[in-house]
Structure formats: C-alpha cells, structure tokens
Amino acid sequence: MMKTKYAVGFFIALIGCPIAALAGDKNDALDAKVISIIKRDFHDKGIARLDRINQDSVQAMCTQYLNNPPIVDMERLEAEQEKAIKWPADGKYMGDWKAGEKLAQSGIGMTWSDKPDAIPGGNCYNCHQLSAKEISYGTLGRSLLHFRAQFSQIRSGEELQRYVYGHIYNAKAYNLCVKMPRFGHLGILTEAQIKDLVALLLDPESPVNKQ
C-alpha cells in the first residue's frame, strides 16, 4: 500500500514538473535535425576539436533515455564498459596520496582555454568533499570524506582498492549514466595518476581519512 502511494506521488511530481522531459516525446525527424545542427554549429577551438560532439554508445543511450535507460540495455553497456577497464599490470592499486591530493585539487584540463601541454587534473573537489581542510568543494557528487570508514563495512583490502580504481577509471561500468567522467576510459588520467587518487581515498594517513 505504502509503495503504491509513493509511486503515485512520484508520478504526479513528474507531471507537475513545468518542463517536459525528453523521453516520451521522441521524434525521429526532430532528433535528426538536432544532430545536423550540432554538427554544423560547433567549430574547433584550441584542443577542443569538433569530433568531441560525436557520441559513443554510452553517451547516446544516456541522452536518449534522459539518463534512465531500460535495464537490459543498461546492464549490457555496463558490462561492456567494465570489460574495457585496463587494470594495472603489476596488480598494485595504491600510489602516492600526496600526488593524489594535488591532482584532486586541480580542475584544469580539456577545455578550449587549456594549453595543449597542460596536464589535466582530476577535478575531484569540483564535485566531491574529500578532506576536512578544503572548504571549497562541490556537491554534485556525494561527500567522500572519511572514505575508508564509510566503506569499511561493505568492502575492504584489495577488493576495495580495485573498486575505487575501477570507479575512477570508468564510473559508468558501475552505473551507466552517472554524472562522473570516465577518467581512465577516455584517457584523461594515466594509470599512475589513478593509483595516486586511490591512495588519497584509501591511505589511512591521507587527509581524506586521517582523524
């Protein structure tokens, strides 16, 4: 009974939303026009090249279904994404948390105003709280403060390290339309950099976990 009530409430909330959603008003002719406008009206600037507007299968699926695709498609693509994760050849997941903290702070990279030789940062603080000291953090993603403690009940040891490595490498292997970028999969960060970030989240001495 409770369940139906919630479901109905949710449905009304959706209808009451003043801006109609995409799914449900599918229109092939219009969709084709949108693509042709997008292809025509952008141009290369600096390192941001026109080919960036071409969607891969994950981007296309998440756009089409407003980040809520049918479960079968979601699971199929998640599995594909997971299969493509390149795990560290040496079997080690933890790097240097100090380098990781620097990377997490850096929000530069990949925009047309970034220099071609600029090393992209992790942008982590843009979206997540990580250490107690840094007060300028975003809330688009959840707080990762005391990450080890947060996770100790569910996972630990190498299994947890692997989970975090995989998540930074390609968060979409775990949750297809999540808003977090695929740092390894799309070549933003290197294997060594991802290891440094894993250490930031899991080393007991890092500012994420200490105290």
């Binding site: 949108v34 997008i38 952008f42 507007i53 756009t63 799309l186």
Partner: protein, 270 residues
C-alpha cells in the same frame, strides 16, 4: 564608479570567506548577496547601458545610419520591452532570432557592416569592447520590470524550443557532460558556485532574468551568448558559433522557461 575598487572589494570579501573555515556553502552565497547590496546603488553595467544608448543613436557603419530603426520584434524603433519577448520568429529573416542575432541583422542590413566583422570577436576583453555588447546592455535595460513573455505560437518558435531542449540534454565530449549534468538537481554546486536547476521554473526564471550581467571577477559586461559560450567551454565541448541556430534554440529553451518572471537585468554576478 571605479570598477577596480569594486573588483578588489569583491576579492577582499571572497578571501574573508575562504579564511573563515567550514560553513562554507551558504556563507559564500550570503557574502555575495551582501556585496550586491553594498554596491546596489550602482551596477557598473549602467555604464555599458549608457554607452549603448549613445551608440544606438549615432550614425555608423559604411552606410552611416544609426540603429534607431532596428526592429527588435515590436516594430521599427521600439526598444522598450523588446527583450522580454525574445527570442521570437521574424518574418523578414524567416527564422527565430535572439537579441544578439537580431542586432547582427540590423547592423548588417541597416548599417552595412559585414557580418564577419561583428561575429568573429563578439565578446569583450580587457582593452576591447565590441559595440554589439553595448547595444545588448542598452536594449535589455529597456525591459527592466517587464514580464517575460516568450511566445511559442509560431511553429518555428515551437520547433526552436524543442531543439533547444534536446541540445540541453545532449551528452558528449571527454567528460560525458550535458548542460543537464550540472543543471538538473536542486541545491548543488561546483566548488563554491551554486548551480541553478533548469528543470525548475523558479531557478530558470531567477537565472534568466539576471542575465546579461556585469561580471565582477572579470570586470566586464557579459551577454547571454557569452554565458552559453562559457558553459560549453566548461562542458569541454568545441566552441559554438556565435548567434548560430544552435545557440538561439538553446536560448529559446531557457527564455521560454523563464516566462512570467519580471525581467531584472542587466544583472550583477561574481
């Protein structure tokens, strides 16, 4: 008012926020509100509005004609309230146009200025202030206090809105971002910048009616086309062509969603 003083005042406040540890989020917003109040007797955009009004009346371009006969949708020469109805369909050009695209039309047809001259460097910098930005400041100022009333009656207006909506949700690029990635949740922020939720009428209205705006951190007046351009940059997309259909349709989506709000620009931003 001296913009340098305004700018440094702003940074002093900002640093005092960063110094004051924790509580961060709401504090930053409060401080900016406080700052707005402190200088509310004079938005530096006032100067851009004045400059724009003077330019508007001055004969210029190869044809030595002023902008006074420009038709912004309410008839030739009518500026008052025009911005609150844009973008809209214009029969003479047979397309939907936003303010900046319409200004380009007037500058090319009335004044004889080649389009490329206007559209290759449309945004100001430290020692560079394109006329079109001053026109924008003047025109939007003439809609202050007017209720937003953007029509979807013409089929091309309806289509522009639908295309704009799809562009808003289009995910791509090295970070998989869409506008929707950052702008469809309540009360979230990137670092310290609050992100309006454009799925909500209230947020859409508040954001739209406060643009174009004077950006204190840059010491410059910025147009709505600039705002869209900079968000595409943050989205890690390539650059959208100035006043292209892509940008006009996106502006239509945002403007229509702001209907019934009272237009309040030019605004004042961090």
């Amino acid at each position: 008012m001296n913009t340098h003083i305004i700018k440094s005042l702003f940074f002093v406040l900002l640093f005092s926020i960063y110094g004051s540890v924790v509580q961060a989020a709401s504090d930053a917003t409060d401080e900016i509100a406080k700052y707005r109040e402190m200088i509310s007797d004079g938005n530096p955009a006032d100067f851009d509005e004045m400059r724009g009004e003077n330019l508007w009346k001055k004969p210029s371009g190869p044809k030595k004609v002023s902008m006074q006969k420009c038709d912004l949708g309410k008839g030739s020469g009518i500026v008052k309230g025009a911005y609150a109805e844009l973008p809209k369909f214009f029969p003479d050009t047979d397309r939907v146009q936003d303010l900046e695209s319409r200004l380009v039309s007037c500058m090319t047809t009335l004044q004889g200025i080649p389009e490329k001259e206007i559209t290759t460097k449309p945004f100001g910098g430290d020692n560079y202030k394109p006329d079109i930005e001053s026109y924008v400041a003047y025109v939007v100022g003439q809609s202050k206090g007017v209720k937003m009333n953007v029509s979807l009656n013409h089929p091309k207006e309806k289509e522009a809105y639908e295309i704009g909506k799809r562009i808003f949700f289009y995910r791509a690029g090295p970070y998989d971002f869409a506008c929707a990635t950052c702008h469809t949740q309540d009360k979230i922020r990137i670092r310290m910048q609050d992100l309006p939720n454009f799925n909500k009428a209230k947020d859409s209205q508040a954001a739209y009616v406060s643009w174009p705006a004077y950006r204190v951190s840059q010491g410059l007046f910025r147009s709505f086309q600039w705002r869209l351009n900079d968000c595409f940059r943050q989205q890690r997309f390539p650059e959208p062509q100035y006043v292209s259909e892509l940008t006009i349709d996106l502006a239509m989506f945002m403007a229509r969603n702001a209907n019934d709000a009272i237009y309040a620009g030019p605004g004042l931003k961090r």
